[in-house]
C-alpha cells in the first residue's frame, strides 16, 4: 500500500493511494493519512483508481479521516474507485459522508 500527496494548494489536497487497503495496508499508511487530515485546512481528493481492494479497516480509515475533516467544514471526495471498491463504499453506506466522483470535474463540483 502506498500513499502519495501529489498536489496541494490552499483549497484542495490531492492524494493518490495504490495497492490493497486492508489490515496491512492500513497499518502502513493509516497514521500518515490521519495526521495529514488533522493538520489540513483543505478538502481532500483521494484518487483510489489504483486501489484494488478495500477491506473494512480501510473503510474505517477513510471514514474517520472524513469525519475529522468534516469537523472543520472540509470534505473528502473519493476519485475514480475501481468497481469492487466503489461497490464496497456504496454498500457500507460510507459514500454518504465520502462522495464518489468519477473524474476531477465531478469531484470539484461536489466540493
Amino acid at each position: 500500500m502506498e500513499m502519495k500527496v501529489i498536489h496541494g494548494d490552499a483549497r484542495l489536497t490531492r492524494i493518490a493511494l495504490s495497492g490493497i487497503l486492508d489490515l496491512e495496508g492500513e497499518s502502513k499508511i493509516g497514521n500518515e493519512f490521519r495526521q495529514l487530515a488533522d493538520s489540513s485546512k483543505t478538502h481532500f481528493l483521494v484518487d483510489m483508481s489504483q486501489v484494488s481492494y478495500l477491506a473494512s479497516l480501510g473503510i474505517r480509515l477513510l471514514f474517520t479521516t472524513a469525519k475529522s475533516l468534516a469537523t472543520s467544514g472540509k470534505k473528502m471526495i473519493v476519485l475514480s474507485p475501481q468497481p469492487m471498491v466503489e461497490e464496497t463504499l456504496m454498500t457500507s453506506g460510507t459514500a454518504r459522508l465520502i462522495p464518489i466522483a468519477h473524474d476531477e470535474d465531478e469531484a470539484l463540483r461536489l466540493l
Binding site: 473494512s56 479497516l57 474517520t64 469525519k67 457500507s92 453506506g93 454518504r96
Partner: protein
C-alpha cells in the same frame, strides 16, 4: 664463570617452568571452553525438554476441553474436525519461531495414530515401528499405563541419518488419547547453540592470547631477578618464577573445576574472579557469559510461557465465541417446513463475523448475519456486544428496520474510533413464506429459487451500523416459494483470493450456488465453504468466512 653458569641455569629453569605452566594454562582454557559449551548444552537441553513438555500439555488440555463435547470413539468424524486437527497435529517451532523442530500428534491407548501431520500415518499402530525404533515404542508402551512419560530415542531418517529425538507423552483427560510431543533437541536450539559456540571460540582465543602475553612479561621479570648472580638469588628467582607462573595456571585450574561443577547442574555457581588481570578477565568473561545465558533462558521461558498463555486464552475465547453462535440447526418452530445451516470460520482464533437465528413467536423467526470491522479480539468483543444488542432489540420490536436502528443508535454512542458492523437481518413468517428484511451495509444475500433462478436480494439502503447515529434502515418484503433458499454470506466469501490475487467474487458465488441447487441446505453451505477454501489454494485466510442459509420447504 660460576655466576654466569648459575645465571644460565636459572634462565633454563625459568624457561622450563614457564613452558610447563603455559601448557597447563592452555589446557585449562580448552577445558574451560569445553565445560562452558557443555554447560550451555545442558541448560538448553533441560529447558528444551521442559518447553516441549509444556506445549504437549497445552495441546492435551485443549483437546480435553474440545473432546468433552464430542464422541471420542468416532475417529473418522474427529479427524474431519479442523479445529481438533489444528490442536492435535501441529508443528513445534524453534524458540526463535523460524524453523520446525518437531511435531505434536495423538495416538490412542492401543497405539493407533488418531491425528498425525502425515495423514497416511493416521489409523496405523505405532507398534509397526517397534523393530525400527524400539526406544520409541518402549516410551509409547509405557504411556498406556503411565500418566506422563518422557525420554529419548534415536530416529533414522530416509537418508539413514540418525537424530536424537526427545519425546514427551501425556494423557488427554477424559479420553483414551495420548498427546505425543517430539522434537530433535539439537535442532530445537541449533541457532542459539551456534551463537554460544562462536562466543566460546572467541573467548578461548582471547584467553590464550592474554596468557601468552602475560607469561612473557612474567618470564622477563624473573630473568631480571636472576641476573643478581648468586645461588640464593637463583633460588629466590626460581621461587618467584614458579609463584608468578603458578599464579596464572592455578586460578584457571580453579575456574575449570568450578565450571565443571556448573556443568553438572549447579547453575547458581559463579567462578572466582581473582588472580592476575588476564585470568580475572577470563573469569569475568565466563561469569558474564553464564549470566547472559541464564538471562536468555529466563527470558525465553517467560516469553514462551506468555505466548502459550495468550494462545491458550485465545483458544478459550474462540471456544466462548463459538458457543455464542447457534449450533443446533433444528428450527425450534416450524418443524420440517424449514431447513437451516450455517458455518463461521474466523481468520484468526477469534473473529468478528457472526450469524444468529431465533424464534420470535410461533410463526416468525429472526435471522441475522453480520461482520464487524477489523479482526481478532477487538472485533470478537464488538461481535458479542452486537449479537446481544440484536437479540434484545428483536425481543422489543421484531421489525428488522427497527431492530437495526436500535442497535445502530447504541453502537454509535461515543464511537470515536468509528468501529462499525454490517448486518443483514430478516424476519421470516414461515407459514406465509414471507420475510421482511433490512440491510445495514451488508452484502445482499442470494435467493436460490427452483428452476435454477438465482438473484441477489435488492438492497433497501441502510448503512453499516455505528457510523451514523440517526441512520434509517428501510425494509423490504420477499415472498418465498417452497424450495426457495436464502443464502447470506460475509465478504470473506466473495473476497477470498487465490495465489494470483484473483477474488472468489460474486459471479463465482452464483455459479457455485447454481451447481448446488438440488442439495440439502447443509450440503449447500458446507460445499460452498469447501469451494472457497479450495479456491484460496493454501493462501492464508484473509478474512472471517461466514455462510448462513435457510430453505422454506413448505408453507402453512
Amino acid at each position: 664463570m660460576t655466576t654466569l653458569g648459575m645465571v644460565f641455569l636459572a634462565d633454563k629453569v625459568l624457561d622450563r617452568l614457564m613452558s610447563e605452566n603455559l601448557e597447563t594454562a592452555s589446557k585449562a582454557v580448552s577445558a574451560l571452553a569445553k565445560a562452558d559449551n557443555d554447560l550451555s548444552e545442558t541448560i538448553l537441553t533441560r529447558f528444551g525438554e521442559k518447553l516441549v513438555e509444556v506445549q504437549g500439555h497445552q495441546a492435551a488440555a485443549l483437546l480435553s476441553l474440545e473432546l468433552s463435547k464430542r464422541n471420542p470413539q468416532d475417529y473418522g468424524e474427529l479427524r474431519k474436525d479442523k479445529e481438533l486437527r489444528k490442536i492435535a497435529a501441529q508443528n513445534i517451532y524453534t524458540p526463535e519461531g523460524e524453523n520446525i523442530a518437531g511435531h505434536i500428534d495423538v495416538f490412542d491407548n492401543k497405539g493407533v495414530a488418531v491425528w498425525h501431520l502425515n495423514s497416511s500415518v493416521e489409523g496405523r499402530n505405532y507398534s509397526e515401528w517397534k523393530d525400527e525404533f524400539p526406544d520409541m515404542w518402549e516410551l509409547v508402551q509405557r504411556s498406556f499405563t503411565e500418566d506422563r512419560v518422557q525420554g529419548y530415542y534415536t530416529f533414522i531418517d530416509r537418508n539413514q541419518k540418525a537424530a536424537k529425538k526427545f519425546m514427551a507423552l501425556m494423557h488427554v483427560q477424559g479420553t483414551p488419547f495420548v498427546v505425543s510431543a517430539v522434537v530433535e533437541i539439537d535442532k530445537y536450539f541449533l541457532p542459539v547453540q551456534e551463537k554460544i559456540r562462536d562466543a566460546d571460540n572467541k573467548a578461548e582465543q582471547q584467553a590464550r592470547a592474554s596468557i601468552v602475553k602475560s607469561t612473557g612479561s612474567t618470564l622477563d621479570h624473573a630473568k631480571f631477578l636472576s641476573l643478581g648472580g648468586s645461588l640464593i638469588l637463583l633460588a629466590l628467582a626460581g621461587f618467584f618464577g614458579f609463584w608468578f607462573t603458578g599464579s596464572i595456571s592455578r586460578p584457571i585450574m580453579g575456574l575449570r573445576d568450578a565450571v565443571k561443577k556448573i556443568g553438572e547442574g549447579d547453575f547458581q555457581v559463579q567462578v572466582s574472579e581473582r588472580g592476575p588481570e588476564e585470568v580475572k578477565q577470563l573469569a569475568q568473561s565466563f561469569n558474564l557469559l553464564g549470566r547472559q545465558l541464564t538471562q536468555y533462558v529466563n527470558r525465553l521461558a517467560e516469553e514462551t510461557a506468555a505466548k502459550q498463555r495468550m494462545e491458550s486464552e485465545l483458544s478459550i475465547a474462540a471456544e466462548i465465541q463459538r458457543s455464542l453462535l447457534p449450533t443446533s440447526f433444528s428450527p425450534p418452530e416450524g418443524g420440517d417446513r424449514l431447513e437451516i445451516y450455517a458455518v463461521m470460520e474466523p481468520a484468526r482464533n477469534v473473529g468478528g463475523d457472526f450469524y444468529d437465528f431465533f424464534s420470535i413467536d410461533e410463526e416468525n423467526m429472526c435471522f441475522a448475519i453480520g461482520d464487524v470491522c477489523g479482526k481478532g479480539v477487538p472485533a470478537a468483543i464488538l461481535m458479542a456486544v452486537t449479537k446481544s444488542l440484536l437479540e434484545t432489540a428483536a425481543g422489543e420490536n421484531s421489525n428488522p428496520g427497527h431492530v437495526l436502528a436500535r442497535v445502530n443508535r447504541r453502537l454509535s454512542q461515543n464511537n470515536e474510533s468509528c468501529v462499525f458492523v454490517t448486518i443483514f437481518c430478516c424476519v421470516l413468517n414461515f407459514k406465509e413464506g414471507k420475510f421482511i428484511y433490512a440491510n445495514g451495509g451488508h452484502d445482499s444475500p442470494l435467493v436460490i429459487g427452483q428452476q435454477e433462478s438465482i438473484a441477489f436480494l435488492d438492497h433497501p439502503g441502510g448503512p453499516a451500523l455505528g457510523l451514523f447515529q440517526d441512520a434509517v434502515f428501510p425494509t423490504q418484503e420477499f415472498i418465498m416459494e417452497p424450495g426457495d433458499t436464502l443464502l447470506a454470506f460475509t465478504d470473506g466469501v466473495t473476497e477470498a483470493f487465490d495465489r494470483t490475487g484473483r477474488f472468489f467474487a460474486k459471479e463465482n458465488l452464483i455459479k457455485q450456488a447454481r451447481r448446488l441447487t438440488d442439495r440439502s441446505v447443509r450440503d449447500v453451505v458446507k460445499d460452498l465453504f469447501k469451494e472457497v477454501v479450495s479456491f484460496s489454494d493454501g493462501m492464508s485466510q484473509a478474512d472471517d468466512i461466514t455462510i448462513l442459509a435457510f430453505r422454506l420447504n413448505k408453507k402453512v
